[in-house]
Subunit: 399 residues, 2 copies
């Protein structure tokens, strides 16, 4: 028996494995990508489940065609039209979470080359580590594009596009309250980005799970809303605005591209959970998701502000961090030469966890950063956790 | 923009596309792989959903680790132990339907070779067409092993194992009430098969969604129960014994193999639906699944017997068909030289549908067969549908 070559790079995902460690009692968990469970609208979802099965049971519990439950796609269409993405429902495909959407992007665009030049995937640097897990199945080379507080740097992107030409098969970006950095792209950068991908004809996965979680009024429109080239493939999700447990997300793309995703889905997993789709459809039918998102925004904003206040008071002055305008994460940068993996050991000893930053870099070659999820921790835990973390950092820097 | 080479073979799946055609009013649909929706235990599942969210909401609606919800895996462990598969829960991984399990099998075992000898996947001939859709992503060559009424033919299998040696990376089989043929492997063939795969060390995906749907007492034990080589990777599912709408299935394999599936799952889709898992767990906690399976068995048996009776009376004598002992399908063989694709046109004109047989052959080179799903049609529709189909066959044979 032999395993495929690609499995040699498979390993347990550090972030998801951390769930096991941090479930010990007394742990303050800034690791993980979990949204705040206490905000899930349980009562409304019980009622939505009841209606879904009682009224639509033979549909909700049965197979359907791969593209997804039509009433839900119609509601997604209506929501997206309000933010400038006005597409027919046959340009919307339901997937089992956006992770599946990223993975399908690899299947559709990346050729495996076991020798010679590999196909190239461009990402922000840093970026969501799960995109590496999803796409490395197809053995691409990942090239990171530099970013700053305004988002991706267009000059850096164009340099790589010129250098690698048609070897670049796909780009993956998170323009809103990025995982892991917490940063959002400015309007100007968005425009410059869209021009470049139109010029170089590079398909882009726009992963937008945090877009709606803005702390300062209306968030930016998605890239998909300003894209005229048809290059943007938008990945939306109910995981962060409602609940991740249903694994219901969606891909919006031009029909000729989306067809490939749909046919690839048939092979990979047949279809998403009909029950999950019908339950979410019924939730949307009988509730105001925007009002619920407002509650999440308010709660996460309070937690972000408290986290920032605590980092300001507890962290040494030579430690930098992001002051996020939305989303679930902040990003901490230790002085040059530090390794957050060594800090993590001290932190775990005091029962506080974060995710080591090198996970988020295409070449895993930046060691002095780490990610904090403030969204899922209640205020008293943020206070206590930041105190523990501040002490661990001071102890680490003294060494 | 260029698509990956593998997408050139992607096309809409004929069977799943048929769902669109046959949803017209008045259609009698023997196509599709749908179980009988009227048997879904709606009331019990509403109650299970209520308990799942009310009592376990923060868990049921949240992410969990990739391997799946522990209480559900414990219940699967207990069920499997009763049929001779006694494994620890860390040898059980929850997947989004068994289609995902097959797809992961490709990722774990098949290397893509765009030139030179391709990796080989062995299947029964015929076999479930979705296995081709799932695995062709990794560009293997499919070799079909001849089968008869007793199941796979061991001599035919050994000939190919000898011929192709280490190029054979994976085998895919459905030993129980196979899709599409309706046939089950005899005990003797199972033993001979297990000897061969142990001798040649070939990993085997045992897809067993129909195993429990026996019409004549207890079904055979799974191959996994008699396998001592560790080569058998068992795919079980709740889709046919409870409902497919949750997309909850499971893989059982030796830890070193299962680890690869788990890590591949992290990249491909993170995890299955927590909500679906907790709902099914609560269904199992408060209901007797075996008693429910008994209802399905009884209903499908009646439908199978009626289908057989009608085929005996309505089909010409030179048309052969399977008399299934379980499952959802029967398989019809027209005289040599016929093409069921031409018959389908006549059948669709009279609003009755089946699935053309060439879909189920690795080389799509057998044209005189087709598949009938009797399980999802009520008796009066089976009667009427078989009459229409009998007439269509007679008209076709006259041409």
């Amino acid at each position: 028996m032999t395993f495929a070559q690609r499995t040699s790079t498979l390993k347990p995902d550090e972030i998801r494995e951390m769930i096991k460690i941090t479930s010990q009692p007394g742990f303050i968990n800034f690791a993980g990508g979990l949204p705040a469970a206490e905000l899930f609208p349980g009562k409304e979802l019980i009622e939505a489940s009841r209606i879904a099965i009682e009224k639509y049971g033979p549909t909700a519990l049965q197979y359907h065609s791969t593209d997804g439950y039509i009433p839900l796609r119609e509601k997604i269409k209506a929501r997206m039209a309000k933010i400038g993405v006005d597409v027919p429902i046959d340009e919307i495909l339901i997937t089992s979470g956006s992770q599946q959407g990223i993975s399908l992007g690899g299947e559709v665009f990346i050729d495996e080359h076991v020798s010679g030049d590999r196909d190239i995937v461009l990402t922000e640097s840093p970026t969501y580590s799960g995109c590496f897990n999803a796409l490395k199945t197809y053995l691409p080379e990942f090239i990171g594009i530099p970013t700053d507080d305004e988002g991706i740097i267009p000059e850096g992107l164009e340099a790589e596009l010129k250098k690698y030409g048609s070897r670049v098969k796909l780009m993956y970006v998170i323009p809103d309250y990025q995982n892991p950095s917490g940063r959002a792209w400015s309007t100007e950068r968005r425009k410059a980005f869209i021009k470049l991908i139109a010029k170089y004809q590079v398909p882009v996965l726009e992963d937008a799970p945090y877009r709606e979680l803005s702390f300062r009024g209306e968030p930016n429109k998605p890239l998909k809303a300003i894209d005229e080239s048809g290059m943007v493939i938008h990945l939306g999700s109910f995981s962060k605005v409602l609940a991740p447990g249903f694994r219901i997300a969606y891909i919006i793309a031009k029909k000729d591209i989306l067809n490939k995703f749909t046919w690839a889905s048939q092979g990979a997993f047949l279809q998403s959970s009909t029950a999950g789709e019908v339950i979410i459809d019924q939730y949307l039918e009988h509730n105001d998701l925007d009002a619920h998102v407002e509650i999440i925004r308010k709660t996460y904003k309070e937690r972000a502000e408290l986290a920032v206040k605590m980092m300001e008071s507890e962290f040494p002055d030579n430690v930098q961090f992001c002051r996020p305008d939305g989303g679930m994460f902040t990003w901490v940068t230790l002085p040059e030469g530090c390794n957050s993996r060594d800090l993590l050991k001290l932190a775990l000893d005091t029962k506080v966890a974060f995710v080591v930053g090198d996970n988020f870099f295409p070449k895993a070659d930046v060691f002095n950063c780490f990610r904090i999820n403030f969204a899922s921790m209640k205020p008293e835990l943020i206070e206590e956790g930041m105190k523990r973390l501040g002490k661990a950092i001071k102890d680490y820097l003294k060494k």
